[in-house]
């Protein structure tokens, strides 16, 4: 049996010997992250899959609006060597044409993750036959909602009726506040719980 530190060392060795990794991060004994160039992602994922990281746990994206980039995060998992690996890469943030080659040939399950990313960030995945289909949002009629320049409040205000609170709800019939009484009662019950002392 190998312990988990060995796993991390093994991975470090495996990936860094073959790839030009921009940054390797060892988060803890069960998590590692590799930032790679976008051209290396497919070969790196192939290598990881053949080395036992055969489960794609998640594909997510991050919108770095100031740097004008999207970051894609592939998380893969191995059931024999318990290490989650994040493969991170950055692509150009292009609202209309941002795209990244699909990884379906490597991980077929990526089909749905890529659809989700397309829905929420507008990144296209050529090679995935239905990346453009809706998956989670139904009949969405605006820009992808997880982009940083999307304004959820404006969308909510324009689509969903808000409840009005007429002033009388705030101070009903000019009653005086019962806050003090309530506090006294709470104090008393506290005292009783302590045996009435102090």
């Amino acid at each position: 049996m190998m312990n988990s530190m060995n796993n991390v060392e093994f991975l470090n060795e495996l990936v860094n010997s073959k790839f030009n990794v921009v940054k390797t991060e060892i988060i803890n004994a069960e998590q590692m992250s590799f930032i790679v160039d976008s051209r290396d992602v497919h070969t790196l994922l192939t290598l990881l899959k053949t080395s036992g990281w055969k489960q794609l746990s998640y594909l997510s994206a991050i919108d770095w609006i100031k740097e004008d980039e999207f970051e894609l995060v592939y998380i893969v998992f191995n059931w024999d060597r318990p290490v989650h690996i994040q493969v991170r890469t950055r692509i150009k943030r292009d609202r209309e044409n941002a795209s990244f080659e699909t990884i379906i040939p490597i991980y077929p399950g990526a089909k749905y993750y890529e659809r989700e990313v397309h829905e929420f960030f507008g990144i296209k995945f050529p090679g995935n036959p239905d990346f453009h289909k809706q998956l989670i949002l139904e009949n969405w009629d605006d820009m992808p909602p997880l982009l940083k320049d999307f304004d959820p409040r404006a969308y909510s205000d324009s689509h969903f009726e808000k409840r009005d609170y007429p002033e009388k709800h705030i101070n009903l019939n000019n009653q005086e506040s019962k806050q003090e009484k309530r506090q006294k009662r709470n104090l008393k019950s506290l005292l009783l719980r302590n045996g009435g002392k102090k």
């Binding site: 139904e138 909602p145 959820p152 409040r153 205000d157 009726e161 808000k162």
Partner: protein, 189 residues
């Protein structure tokens, strides 16, 4: 021959009596359909199990909408869930009641500015009782149920009648927010 003791009742009065009898049994034996959309649903296990034991009020869980009397909407509703909720509500047999849990169903709660969830449930389906809180205390939930029973007794739980009377208004609101109520997705077609 006319009876001297009892004046005969009109059909309307007889119907009303039967409704009263029906309401008596209905409010003491409510079957609820739990549409556990949000975190408020976590208040149901203590309410149903030995801690508060809602069966002593005569309430029990039911598996299908057609056999249930009360629809519990426990928490926030995304547009996607709202579509399914409207389906479910319309499938329930009358009379039907709706209990909305938590501030999310009342005014959107902490998700009031989210792109994904609606703010005001009674805009789309009629709600008889709201239980406020985020999440509501289990006592408040139980209190909401007894309130509902009282409302059935006083004939003020009229949401389902309202849905029939103002159906156009509800339908219009549903369409305004949802675009289309029908569900189209590849998994069901």
């Amino acid at each position: 021959m006319k009876s001297t003791k009892f004046s005969p009742m009109t059909q309307e009065q007889i119907d009303k009596k039967w409704w009263e009898i029906g309401n008596y049994f209905r409010r003491n034996s409510l079957w609820m359909l739990m549409y556990c959309t949000g975190c408020c649903a976590i208040e149901l296990p203590p309410a149903m199990t030995s801690a508060y034991d809602m069966e002593r009020l005569g309430m029990g869980p039911m598996a299908t909408p057609r056999q249930a009397d009360v629809l519990l909407v426990t928490g926030y509703l995304s547009l996607k869930t709202l579509r399914r909720l409207i389906y479910t509500y319309e499938q329930m047999s009358e009379p039907k009641y709706v209990v909305g849990f938590g501030s999310c169903t009342i005014n959107g709660g902490i998700y009031h500015d989210s792109h994904a969830v609606i703010n005001k449930l009674d805009q789309y389906i009629p709600v008889d009782v709201y239980v406020a809180g985020c999440m509501p205390n289990t006592e408040a939930v139980m209190n909401g149920f007894t309130d509902l029973m009282g409302m059935i007794k006083n004939k003020t739980a009229r949401g389902w009648l309202d849905y029939k009377e103002r159906n156009d208004w509800y339908k219009k609101n549903q369409l305004d927010s949802l675009g289309e109520v029908l569900v189209h997705d590849e998994f069901h077609e």
